[in-house]
């Protein structure tokens, strides 16, 4: 009886699966508010939207909302945030690309030093062991340290300025809300 129960349940599950597979293609709207595959157009945005991590820079892009009646301070803050986002995106995608390129070059030269076999007998890729890779990690870090320090200095300045400006904007908004209430 248990076996028949299990098979009946599996058969039922299989039927539901094929049915819902068809239904899935029809429905594309996510029924959770605030989450979507793409951000809505500007007119429908109530807040900023943050997206999935960019594969080259690992940073999450933010789509900024431009409210009607935006003050000069708010616009300045938004421009600064957008500019910083672009600058970050550029830096990290270049940096990661450089990392991948140098890593590939290192592995290629390691394979050449070994014996040109890039694939093990069982078909998987052949990679240098950890001690050899640590050599690469060390040289990469020391080569790019100067650039990283310059980036860090600039990032700290921008981040502090963004926090300061957003504090001013927030205070202004609070005060104007209180005044409007009165």
């Amino acid at each position: 009886m248990i076996r028949s129960f299990c098979t009946a349940r599996n058969a039922h599950a299989a039927v539901r699966k094929t049915r819902t597979a068809g239904r899935r293609k029809g429905q594309t709207k996510a029924s959770v508010p605030g989450i979507a595959a793409q951000p809505p157009p500007q007119s429908q945005m109530a807040h900023d939207w943050i997206g999935p991590a960019d594969p080259s820079s690992n940073l999450r892009p933010i789509k900024f909302r431009v409210p009607t009646g935006e003050s000069a301070a708010e616009e300045r803050l938004r421009q600064l945030r957008a500019d910083t986002q672009k600058w970050n995106q550029e830096f990290w995608s270049n940096h990661n690309q450089q990392f991948n390129k140098e890593k590939a070059d290192f592995i290629r030269s390691w394979l050449e030093k070994e014996d040109f076999k890039s694939v093990h007998t069982d078909g998987s890729k052949r990679m240098p062991p950890a001690e050899d890779m640590s050599e690469f990690y060390r040289t990469f870090l020391t080569e790019h340290q100067h650039g990283q320090l310059q980036y860090q200095r600039e990032w700290y300045k921008r981040n502090l300025y963004i926090i300061y400006l957003s504090f001013r904007v927030k205070m202004f908004q609070l005060v104007s809300k209180v005044l409007m209430r009165r």
């Binding site: 429905q27 996510a30 979507a36 890729k125 052949r126 990679m127 950890a130 060390r138 926090i163």
Partner: protein, 469 residues
């Protein structure tokens, strides 16, 4: 249930991995999985998409690898297809296209950037490779939650959770425990409310320090697997909100300590906060000396607890601080060993990347230093002499693991040392609490005097009645 092979896909563009499900519980329970070509995943937990929950048997099932420790990343997988393996397990062992062959290459070092295979190799349910993967994945019902756009609206119900994550509540808890240890071991009188206030103040300053650290590390945290899902990286709170939280927590903690405890504790708390945020956080990218600064940061909380009890720092306080200072090195060096690729790419200057020999040497050196300090702790009247002997087996085992890491540093020895450090410190502190001097002091004899009496009295000659000669 017969084992079956699930083909799991992480996301579009990342190749699949195959998992053999050996045991399966109910729909929402854990599944034991053995993955081909990698170290076995301990457990997977499943959940259904929230918008599919009303369906009885969901067609989309999300699995996540349960991180066995905080340093391994959590990956989300989607079941793409499944076939019964039957009894022929050898058939399940084909080479997986996604996993690296070398077992010494750290698993969690492979972030998205480092996978070489970018071709989608999804296998559709009828066995034919799916070519148009992208249009399927554009469907929000098919994408995992972390690949969708999210509105940046503050969810007040989740705010306490966000604050706990911002303040790294587990780390803060350990800091408070070490401050409790300092309070308990201090020879002053113990008062419950003073204790509570001191611990609250310490906890609040620690929360503030961790939050400020996260505010400034957002782009660097996004690069590393371990930290990719932090609150500010995911945009769940704005940086201003986080800074506001840190300001409120830090100032409340400092004022609490200043007003109700004593100025020394408040000064130590504020000094620790400044050291962590203004010195350690920027230094992480400048030089490897950041590890030493970070160890000082870890050694200050017991000093705070001690000062809260007695109002000054006696020799015993420095012994306790010394033990915590030395402990940081094997703990952190073992942790950072496995994260070398991530640190290198994100630009962090750590010993494990720039000078691996120094990393291993320093870890071993400080393991031995802990042993020495614990053996000499009774001289400061902090503990009885029993502590020197009781802590010896613990410290010798820890030093043995440090020696193994020094001799042959690989992921396994690093992991063993790191895991051991996690239980070594609480056990050592417990031992110390049991051997506290005032608990066992019947005649309040000074330990140094007891030691010198013992040494002088230890002579091999029989006592001759010289006064009779």
């Amino acid at each position: 249930m017969r084992p079956s092979v699930f083909v799991l896909q992480q996301r579009a563009g990342v190749a699949v991995l195959r998992a053999v499900v050996l045991q399966q519980g109910g729909r929402n329970s854990c599944v034991n999985v053995w993955q081909t070509g990698e170290a076995p995943a301990r457990c997977l937990s499943t959940w259904n998409n929230p918008w599919n929950r009303r369906r009885q048997s969901p067609c989309i099932r999300w699995y996540s690898s349960k991180a066995p420790s905080s340093i391994t990343p959590q990956h989300t997988y989607k079941v793409v297809s499944r076939d019964r393996a039957g009894n022929d397990l050898r058939r399940i062992l084909p080479t997986s296209a996604s996993v690296p062959a070398s077992s010494t290459e750290p698993l969690q070092g492979d972030s998205r950037q480092e996978t070489d295979n970018n071709k989608p190799t999804t296998i559709a349910e009828d066995g034919v490779p799916a070519t148009g993967v992208d249009d399927v994945d554009a469907d929000p019902e098919v994408l995992p939650p972390n690949q969708l756009w999210r509105e940046q609206r503050l969810d007040l119900a989740k705010l306490p959770g966000y604050y706990m994550k911002l303040s790294k509540i587990r780390l803060t808890g350990l800091v408070v425990i070490s401050a409790m240890g300092g309070y308990y071991m201090a020879p002053g009188s113990h008062d419950f409310f003073t204790f509570l206030l001191a611990m609250t103040g310490t906890g609040l300053t620690s929360c503030a320090a961790n939050t400020i650290n996260q505010v400034f590390e957002v782009p660097f945290d996004s690069q590393m697997d371990r930290t990719r899902n932090r609150v500010l990286v995911r945009g769940l709170l704005s940086p201003l909100h986080a800074v506001g939280f840190a300001t409120v927590a830090g100032s409340t903690g400092a004022l609490l300590l200043y007003n109700w405890i004593n100025p020394l504790t408040a000064a130590l708390g504020v000094g620790n906060l400044a050291l962590y945020t203004l010195l350690y956080t920027p230094m992480k990218r400048m030089s490897i000396a950041n590890t030493w600064v970070g160890s000082v940061v870890g050694a200050i909380p017991p000093l705070m607890g001690w000062a809260a009890c007695t109002g000054q720092l006696e020799a015993g306080a420095w012994v306790l601080a010394g033990i915590l200072y030395s402990w940081q090195f094997p703990h952190f060096n073992a942790l950072s060993w496995r994260l070398r690729p991530d640190y290198s790419r994100a630009g962090y200057c750590m010993m494990s990347v720039t000078n691996p020999d120094l990393c291993r040497r320093v870890a071993l050196r400080h393991c031995l230093l802990i042993t020495t300090i614990c053996s000499l702790a009774p001289f400061t009247n902090l503990t009885t002499w029993a502590f020197a002997f009781n802590s010896l087996p613990l410290n010798i085992y820890f030093s043995y693991l440090g020696w193994k890491f020094y001799e042959d540093a690989n992921n396994q020895s690093a992991r063993r040392l790191f895991m051991a450090s996690l239980w070594h410190l609480p056990t050592l502190l417990l031992c110390m609490f049991i051997c506290k001097k005032s608990l066992h002091d019947k005649d309040k004899k000074d330990n140094v005097k007891a030691f010198t009496d013992f040494v002088v009295g230890f002579h091999p000659f029989p006592v001759l009645p010289f006064h009779r000669l």
